[in-house]
Symmetry: C2
Subunit: 432 residues, 2 copies
């Protein structure tokens, strides 16, 4: 059987998983590829570090040139995170004639256009299944399996750390900060979890998926994005009582040839597939105009699920499928019919509002008056009785709206500020 | 943009959907393929029949030779159902040098090895995404996206008609025969629904999936198969009370390098994704040793979901991906490491048993004695009180077992026959 020489750059969690698969399951990858993806080199920064995989002699190197200069190494899995030196290494590898596999979503979300342009110029390809939702092969599904469709909407739970935290808050009733500590202890959250919990990681993934599915142009930082860092257990409880679960949901949908996008904690009806996604799992619902809804659920991160995606890409590249797919992808290409991101204010949704209000007559009339004046129609109200007789005590008020424009909600919330009856800024969550 | 000439054989429901996509959305397919899949010919039996799609002049023909003899037509979607003439036409098309797309599961389940051999000999390819679970791209997912894995188990709801009937029985409390009539009225069941409701259609699909995932050899007719035609509403109700839903479930799992397979109405815990699959939807849970569980849910049949799969295959074939995939598939190939189907009797599961028993002292001891002697350990028993005082009245007895070998259950049920306390043959259903 013929060999294709492969290199790995970076032997962190995912790199180690990929090395294990190529070394320990070489017969399987060879059978599935019809040729041997031969692990020729692994480039690391520190040669002396103890590794969690047995590496044959001569494979480990700290010199990138060992890969760059070897023309027989044609396929490289670039598994370094962050922007630099990942970006420069990608460019160097492309210049050296390598086809590349990457799991680096942050890099693609920012430098995707540059890297894809360079690859196209040089007639090379970039495969990136592992960059979004690890164990769910969503890139191939959108980029290849659903090509008969115009995708009309995407909804995804794309960050396992956030989903674990929300599930735990729901189950235990504990506050965000306590559950975050627990998640860190279990290794489900990084020491610095900022990019996970503030929604940035989800927005980067949504940016890649929506550029792939809709050709939408734009920076991931322009996606309206709200994380779970100020998610209050009270809202999880009220949502539960109303028949919903809260999930950090990424949404992209086609509206009048523009794409509405958002990342935010969202109320989803219990019993629907997305609402029931537990723990560190990811899930994505894609709707195509031909196929209807297709729902995917799997492990979004972790060493082996992500390595599964990287090795599938290595096999696809070794056999030549990635090259074809890459050539035909409209993603970050001239062939793309670009669409713009829609104005978030025009987005029409149902909304959940919660505020602390003074327990006095007339308050309800004031609030519903403001909402009514802005054209917000109310579906239901839950007002809780005060537990003490003190007339200055505040009580929680929960309002569910009918479908309404986001700008009307924003305007109402802005006007609530002037009211002496409303104690603090209203919590506003989308409802689907 | 260059063209690849494509033909369709058969303009039934799916063929019409495919023609619509190629004709009405030609720009989309061309953009996704990087070349134009040009619909050159559609072969039908009856030229005079009114069609549900506007077909350009010169495209429709009743002469297969118009396709066979045209060397420029290199890709053919063969969309005739049943065994003959579908099989002969497939062979003729392969001989004539065409790459083929098919949705015909019955043909593949029986003649897959012959057709694949012929295609390999002639260096042609067969793409068959639409043959299983229409709108769920499960063939590409197993055959390409999860190639880093050894699949260890598959569980699927693969027949939309059966799932619709069971969902309706559950919701309305109506009997199988009444719901079947309703399904026929709505167009969800054929005039002759035998192959759907007796499980044969599901077994054929399972046969294709399990040969793809496990390389298991064997005839689909050897898969232990029980349909829903004698599914009793009483069992749906008892299952519900015990916290389960009943689904017609196809199962294949790797046990000691053999593959255990079955199709049967199965109790699945409420709240798990497979249990919540409603109406005509299909769903598949695949477990890989690297990726863990991946769950897919979508429309299993219908004109456009199936056409979506066929057109994705047409694009894959036009761009050359199908050829690569087909060459590397172990399915029905010499490169396959064949596995055998495991002895069903050795299968270990939990079981649900229901029988009508005489309402007299000693009956429970007799039944539990038989089960105990055969090594079946009981998890729970529900015995319902008789509603009249007549000592000859029978009452339903429902037993849930712990994990036990199927042969022990079969032996027990066999021994129940000799008991004068048990009125009729026990209903036995698997529990997962």
């Amino acid at each position: 059987m013929e060999k294709t020489k492969v290199a790995i750059i970076g032997l962190g969690t995912v790199g180690t998983g990929v090395a294990k698969l190529l070394l320990d399951h070489g017969d399987r990858t060879a059978r599935h590829a019809g040729r041997i993806p031969w692990l020729e080199k692994i480039v690391v920064r520190d040669l002396s570090k103890t590794r969690d995989v047995e590496i044959p002699e001569g494979v480990l190197t700290d010199n990138l040139e060992d890969v760059i200069q070897d023309p027989e190494i044609t396929v490289v899995a670039q598994l370094i995170g962050g922007i630099e030196p990942a970006r420069s290494i990608m460019l160097q590898l492309l210049e050296a004639g390598k086809d590349i596999i990457t799991a680096n979503k942050a890099l693609l979300a920012v430098y995707g256009p540059e890297l894809f342009d360079k690859a196209r110029q040089l007639k090379r390809c970039i495969a990136f299944e592992a960059s979004v939702a690890g164990g769910i092969p969503i890139i191939t599904n959108i980029g290849q399996c659903l090509t008969a469709n115009q995708i009309t909407s995407l909804r995804g739970i794309l960050n396992g750390t956030c989903n674990f935290i929300i599930t735990e808050m729901q189950n235990s009733g504990a506050a965000f900060s306590d559950v975050l500590k627990e998640a860190q202890r279990l290794g489900y959250a990084e020491a610095d979890p900022t990019l996970d919990v503030n929604g940035a990681d989800t927005a980067q993934k949504l940016s890649i998926l929506s550029q792939l599915a809709f050709g939408v142009r734009g920076n991931w930082e322009d996606i309206p994005c709200k994380g779970i860092n100020d998610l209050n257990i009270a809202d999880i409880r009220y949502a539960d009582r109303l028949g919903y679960r809260i999930k950090l949901l990424a949404i992209a949908k086609l509206v009048d040839n523009e794409v509405e996008m958002s990342v935010s904690p969202t109320l989803i009806s219990k019993g629907t597939p997305l609402a029931e996604v537990q723990d560190v799992f990811n899930a994505i619902r894609v709707r195509g105009d031909t196929v209807g809804p297709v729902f995917y659920h799997g492990q979004g991160a972790g060493q082996m699920p992500t390595a599964s995606a990287v090795v599938a890409d290595i096999i696809d590249t070794v056999v030549g499928r990635s090259q074809i797919t890459f050539n035909n992808l409209e993603l970050w290409s001239e062939r793309n019919r670009p669409r713009s991101m829609a104005d978030a204010g025009q987005s029409i949704n149902r909304y959940y509002l919660r505020m602390q209000v003074v327990d006095q007559p007339g308050v309800m009339a004031e609030i519903t008056g403001i909402l009514g004046n802005n054209g917000v129609s109310i579906a239901s109200i839950i007002q809780h009785k005060s537990e003490n007789k003190d007339s200055s005590a505040t009580v929680p008020l929960v309002i569910m709206s009918h479908e309404t424009m986001q700008s009307a909600i924003d305007k109402s919330v802005d006007q609530f500020k002037d009211s002496k009856s409303i104690e603090s800024k209203a919590v506003v969550l989308k409802v689907i």
